[in-house]
């Protein structure tokens, strides 16, 4: 039985933005990743737990507007998607590594907005499709907001299977600059994560 989190509170605005830096810092890690054979596909996604309160819905709407503005300025496609488990995803970017920095900034904008409105606990994870040298299929680089750590996720087939061996190998290739999740019991899956590149027209899908 896993234990509930002991510290659910945000630490105040400044503290929270510091906590979120590992996502922003991912951009700085990209050269190290590439040196180790891992390259961003170009898409970035963030997963947020939905809530039916007016405050949350307002924030989600403001997020949409902020992203719309950012996407317009930077020619960055984005899309808001829902899943069956009560979570909303915002996906930014194209299948083009050159958009990765903007895509990461886009989802950082999403996260920051939720933090500002005291919804830090609703942020679950960020996810980044990554290509691996010599592999046919990409994998998902998952960032867990609670643990503030990264780990790989390689779904296989349709029966919710993972390629654990490949995940372990990829983890071995993580550069030191990327904070990795050492406890493999915490490498939770993100089944059927809606990480396809948004429609080519920037804006809400």
């Amino acid at each position: 039985m896993t234990a509930p989190s002991l510290w659910p509170f945000g630490r105040g605005r400044a503290g929270n933005t510091r906590r979120l830096d590992p996502v922003f810092a991912l951009m700085a890690c990209v050269p190290d990743l590439i040196a180790n054979g891992i390259a961003p596909v170009g898409v970035a996604g963030i997963c947020v737990r939905r809530e039916d309160s007016p405050a949350f819905l307002n924030t989600a709407r403001d997020v949409g507007q902020a992203l719309a503005l950012y996407s317009h300025e930077h020619d960055l496609p984005y899309q808001e998607r829902s899943d069956d488990l009560g979570f909303t995803w915002w996906i930014c970017g194209r299948n083009d590594a050159a958009t990765f920095d903007d895509a990461v900034t886009g989802i950082h904008l999403v996260a920051d907005t939720f933090v500002e409105r005291s919804f830090t606990q609703r942020l679950l994870a960020a996810a980044f499709p990554m290509a691996e040298d010599g592999a046919d299929t990409p994998f998902v680089l998952v960032y867990n907001y609670r643990r503030q750590k990264y780990y790989p996720f390689v779904p296989v087939g349709r029966a919710h299977d993972r390629d654990n061996a490949r995940e372990m190998r990829i983890y071995g290739d993580f550069p030191k600059s990327l904070p990795g999740e050492d406890e493999i019991e915490r490498w939770y899956a993100l089944w059927d994560a809606p990480l396809q590149a948004p429609d080519s027209n920037p804006g809400q899908g």
Partner: protein, 283 residues
């Protein structure tokens, strides 16, 4: 185990007394917490099965598995539980359901492929021991107050400042802060006690399996076969993990609602040690 439960009982009794004394929206809290408890109690099995993409199977669909479960259930003197299979190749097994007459035992395709029939039977005996011992109900019950405490802690202002019943507003901020602090303490303490209780339930189910099969070595072999390092990578979705349970209307879809064969605690080594001791005992 008795000590943990007694300590938990004391903690909760103190908690309730303080809540009642503070006279804040106690009724509202109770309604919410009882609501969650009932929801978890009644819907947990369906939600858990859905989250593992498991399907209930009939005797015709899986005759060997069904017969095995039936045999163990009869040995354990519990009603025949429903049998479910999860298609994933990661080996695992779990039991869920609010009482022995509403139980489901689920195995993954991975564990069916991986283990010999005898070992699988030992695993089923472990899960059915959980059913017989009513572990689901026990864990749900002990989690109840922890959930209530966590609700207070995380939604403190809503409960304590909002005028739902009681004389909360009149008594002023000090009482509310005190209750809030007490809730944190309750939460922390119950965190550790719940872990102790659930660890004990796992040992008890292992023991139950050893006694039902008469051969603890079978369960030892099964656990060893499937608990190698790579398989410790969880199959559960991040969106369904415990940390969010306080926010979910049905905290059911968390590890609270099922007794999983491969849990993080207790460690495999400790479980094997106890099974070895049981083997010596039975000889």
């Amino acid at each position: 185990m008795v000590l943990s439960m007694a300590l938990l009982g004391v903690v909760y009794a103190i908690f309730l007394a303080i809540l009642a004394n503070a006279g804040f929206g106690f009724q509202f809290l109770v309604i919410i917490a009882v609501g969650l408890l009932l929801a978890q109690y009644y819907f947990s099995d369906r939600l858990v099965l859905a989250s593992m993409r498991a399907r209930i199977v009939t005797e015709r669909q899986a005759p060997d598995l069904y017969a095995m479960v039936a045999r163990v259930a009869q040995l354990a003197n519990v009603p025949m539980p429903k049998v479910a299979i999860s298609p994933t190749m990661s080996p695992n097994a779990f039991a869920t359901g609010r009482s022995p007459s509403h139980a489901v035992v689920c195995v993954t395709q991975g564990i069916r492929d991986r283990l010999d029939p005898n070992e699988l039977e030992a695993v089923l005996a472990h899960e059915i021991s959980h059913v017989r011992n009513r572990d689901m109900m026990i864990i749900t019950f002990v989690s109840f107050f922890a959930t209530a405490a966590s609700l207070i802690v995380q939604n403190g202002f809503w409960f304590l400042g909002g005028g739902f019943g009681g004389g909360g507003r009149r008594r002023g901020g000090n009482n509310l802060a005190l209750v809030w602090l007490i809730s944190i303490a309750v939460w922390v303490v119950s965190f550790f006690l719940i872990r102790a209780v659930s660890r004990y339930r796992e040992y008890a189910a292992d023991r139950g399996s050893g006694i039902l099969t008469g051969q603890p070595a079978l369960l030892m072999s099964a656990l060893t076969k499937i608990a190698d390092t790579a398989k410790r990578i969880p199959n559960r979705d991040l969106r369904q993990t415990e940390a969010l349970s306080a926010f979910m209307i049905f905290p059911a879809v968390s590890s609270n609602s099922m007794m999983e064969l491969l849990s993080t605690h207790p460690s495999l080594e400790h479980r094997l040690e106890k099974l070895r001791a049981l083997e010596r005992e039975l000889r």
